[in-house]
Amino acid sequence: MRFGFTEEEQRFRAEVRRTLRTPDIRAAAEAATGADGVEPDARPLYRLLGRTGLLAVHWPVEYGGAGRPATDAAIVAEELVRAGVPDTFHVNSIQIVGQFLLMAGSEEQRRRHLPALARGESFASVLYSEPDAGSDLGALRTAAVPDGTGHRISGTKVFSLKTRFVDLGLCAARTTPDTGPYRGISLFLVDMTAPGVTVSLVPGIGDEHFHRVDLDGVRVSEGDLLGPRDEGWPLLNEALAVERTGLDYHLKAERWLDAALDALTDTAHDISRPDHPDHGEHLERIGRLHGALAADEVLVWEVLDGLAADRIDQLATAVAKYHASELAQSVANWAVDVPTPAQRSARTAAARVLDSAYREAPGLTLSAGTSEIMLRIVAASLDSVSQEGY
C-alpha cells in the first residue's frame, strides 16, 4: 500500500498550485464566491481556468484534455478548492457529466461536447430529481416520446444547482412506460437553450440556489440518446457512483476546518493559549476532526484509485460519500460557533466562509444520494462483504 503521492504527482501538484495562485485567477475566484445568499456567475472564472488547460487534464487530447492519469485530475480538483475556486461547475460539468460522457457516450457525443466543457466554455448539469422522485429515482415521470428521428421530452426536474448558467443537461426520462420502476428509462443530453426548456430559480438557504426545469415537448435527436434506449437504469447507477467519490465533500470539510483554525488562531482570540477558557474543549474537537479527515482522504482515494483503473466499487463509493458528507456537515455545524462576535462583525474571511458553510451543510448529506441511501447500499453489502472487505 502507498498512502502518499509519487514524486511525479507531487511535482504536478506544485505546478498546478503555482498556476492557480496567479493574481487574475485569485481575483476571479474571489469574485465568483457567493456570500449572504448572493450567487455570482462563476463562468468568467471557469473560462479563465479553461485557458490554463487544467479543467480536464485526464481526458484524452482529442477531447480537450491533456491525456494525464485520472489521479492527476483528482489532484487538480483538490488544488482548485484549496485555491478558493467554487467547485460546483467543476464537479457537475467535468467530474460528473463530462466523466460520464467519457465512459458511456458515443464518439460523436464526446467530440461534440467534451472539448467545450474542458475549455470552460460550456457547462453541464444533471437533471434527475423530480418533485415526486427524489431518492427514489424509480418513481421518475418525465417522459420521452418517440418523434420521428428523435424524442420529445416532457416533465419537471428540480433541485439542481447552477442550472440557469448551463448549456447542457443530462436528463433521465422514461422511454417505455409501465415496465416497472427501473425499466424503460433512458438518458438524454438536452440543450438547455432549446425551445420548451424553462429554467426557474428555487431560492434556498445556501449561497447556491436550486432550480426547477420544466421540459415541454423538448426535441432531442437520436444523437442525444446516451447509451442504449430503455437501459438507462444501470447507466444511471454508474453515473451516480461516479458522483460519489466523496472528494468534493472531503475538500469542503478540509476547507472549513482550515477556516475554523484560522479564526481560532486570530491573535485577538488565539485559542492555542493554554489559559484560554475553551482551550481543552476545542483541542479535543480539533484532534477528532483532523483524525477523521485523514481517514476520510484514504476512503476517497480508494474510490478514485478504483475509477482510475475503470473499477466501480458500489460499497466503497457509498462508504466514501457517507463518511465525507457526514464529516463535512459535522465540521460546519461545529465551526459555525467558532468565530467571535468581533470576527463576525468585521466579516473576516473565515467568518464568511463558516457562515456560508453552515447554510450549505444540510445539503451535503442529501445530494448525490442521501446518507440513508448510502447506508442502504452498505447494509445490502453485509451479506457479501468478506473479512478483507472490512
Partner: protein, 359 residues
C-alpha cells in the same frame, strides 16, 4: 495513492488466520476474556510463523515488513478475540531490552498520555526507588519494563521480578505490578526522553490500534452473521432498517478506522513524517473509540443472547473494555493531536502573515 494490500501481508494474514482458527476461544463469562501475554495460547503459533522476524530489519536478519506487519498481526489476534502475545515482545525489543522482559503498558512512557497506572521514581544513592502501580500483559516474567516519573522527566527502567517491594496481581485484567519503594540500580534505565522511546511508542500505539480494529471487526462479523439468520417480525433481523442501519454505520466506521491505522503505519514505516507525526496517536484514539462503539452496536443488534455464552460477542465486549483505554485515554490522545494541528495552523498563519488558511 495505491491502496491495494501488499501480497506478502495478505499471505501472512492468511497463515495467521488459519492458525488462529485452530485455537479455541474461551466461553467463560467471568474472569479474563483472554489468556493474555507472552505465554498465552497464541504464542506457539506466532513462534511457528517466526513472528519475531516480521518487523526486524532485513539487515538484522528479519523480514523488514515494518510496523505494518505488526499492525496486521495484532488485528488478526483481535479479530479472533485472542490475547495479544505479539505486542509486548515487540515493544520490549524496541526499547532495547531482553524480549523476555514484559513491558508495562506505555501510559507513562516519555511522550505518552496518562493511562495504565503511574510510578514515581525517587533518586537514592546508586539508583532509584520506585513506587506505584502499572498494568502489564502478564505477571509471569523475569523482569518488567516500567515507565516512571523522575524529577527530570519520564524514563523507562527494567525492574527485576525479585526487586524488593515488587508484588503482582493477575486476578484483575489487565494484571498489575505494584511497586513499593522498589530499588533499581541507575544502570537499569533503558529509555530516556528524546531517545528511542518516541519511535517505539509510535509503533506500540499502532500495534494496539490494529488490535482494537480487529476486536471491532470481529464483533461486527459475529453480529452480521447472527442478525443474518435470526428472524423477528417475519424478517431477518438484518433486513429491518433499525438493525441494518447501525450495522452499516459500524461498517463505515470500521473502514475509516482501518484507513487511519494503516495510514499511520505507512507514515512510520516510510518515514514520510517524523515517527508518523500525530497519526499513530490519532489511529489509536480512533480505534479505541471504534472498538467500544462497534461492540456496543453488535451487542444491541443481537439481543440478550449476546450477553450469554451462546455468542462470542460477550468476549469482544469484555475485551474492548480492557483494551480501549489501556494505552491512554482517547480524549487525551485527541487533545494531543488537536494541539499539534493548532500549532501547525498558527505557524501557517504566521508564515503567510495574512491570516489566510493554510493550503
Amino acid at each position: 495513492m495505491h491502496l491495494h494490500p501488499d501480497p506478502l501481508l495478505t499471505e501472512l494474514r492468511t497463515a495467521l488466520r488459519a492458525g488462529l482458527s485452530g485455537i479455541g476461544a474461551g466461553t467463560a463469562l467471568h474472569g479474563p476474556p483472554v489468556t493474555d501475554g507472552g505465554p498465552g495460547p497464541t504464542r506457539q503459533l506466532l513462534d511457528a510463523l517466526g513472528a519475531d522476524a516480521f518487523e526486524r530489519p532485513v539487515a538484522d536478519g528479519g523480514l523488514g515488513l515494518g510496523v505494518t506487519a505488526g499492525v496486521a498481526v495484532s488485528e488478526e489476534l483481535g479479530l479472533a478475540a485472542q490475547g495479544n502475545a505479539y505486542r509486548a515482545r515487540a515493544w520490549a525489543v524496541e526499547l532495547g531490552s531482553s524480549p523476555d522482559a514484559v513491558p508495562a503498558d506505555p501510559g507513562a512512557v516519555p511522550g505518552a498520555v496518562p493511562g495504565g497506572g503511574r510510578v514515581e521514581a525517587v533518586a537514592v544513592p546508586g539508583g532509584w526507588e520506585l513506587t506505584g502501580t502499572v498494568t502489564v500483559d502478564t505477571v509471569d516474567a523475569p523482569a518488567f519494563l516500567v515507565a516512571a516519573q523522575t524529577g527530570r522527566g519520564p524514563v523507562v527502567l527494567e525492574v527485576e521480578r525479585t526487586a524488593p517491594g515488587l508484588g503482582t496481581d493477575d486476578r484483575c485484567l489487565p494484571p498489575v505490578v505494584r511497586l513499593d519503594r522498589s530499588f533499581v540500580a541507575a544502570g537499569a534505565v533503558v529509555a530516556e526522553p528524546g531517545g528511542t522511546a518516541e519511535g517505539a511508542l509510535a509503533r506500540a500505539r499502532l500495534r494496539q490500534a490494529g488490535y482494537l480494529l480487529g476486536i471491532a471487526a470481529g464483533a461486527h462479523r459475529v453480529a452480521v452473521a447472527y442478525t443474518g439468520h435470526r428472524a423477528q417480525f417475519g424478517s431477518r433481523l438484518r433486513d429491518l432498517p433499525p438493525v441494518a442501519f447501525p450495522l452499516a454505520r459500524a461498517l463505515v466506521r470500521l473502514r475509516a478506522t482501518r484507513a487511519a491505522v494503516y495510514r499511520g503505519a505507512w507514515l512510520v514505516d516510510t518515514g514520510a513524517e517524523h515517527e508518523g507525526g500525530t497519526a499513530p496517536a490519532a489511529a489509536l484514539a480512533t480505534a479505541a473509540e471504534t472498538a467500544r462503539e462497534v461492540v456496543r452496536v453488535g451487542m444491541q443488534s443481537c439481543g440478550v443472547r449476546a450477553m450469554t455464552a451462546e455468542l462470542a460477542l460477550q468476549r469482544y465486549h469484555r475485551l474492548a473494555a480492557v483494551e480501549a483505554h489501556r494505552y491512554g485515554d482517547p480524549a487525551a490522545l485527541w487533545r494531543l493531536v488537536g494541539a499539534e494541528r493548532l500549532r501547525e495552523a498558527r505557524e501557517a498563519r504566521r508564515r503567510s502573515g495574512t491570516g489566510a488558511s493554510p493550503a
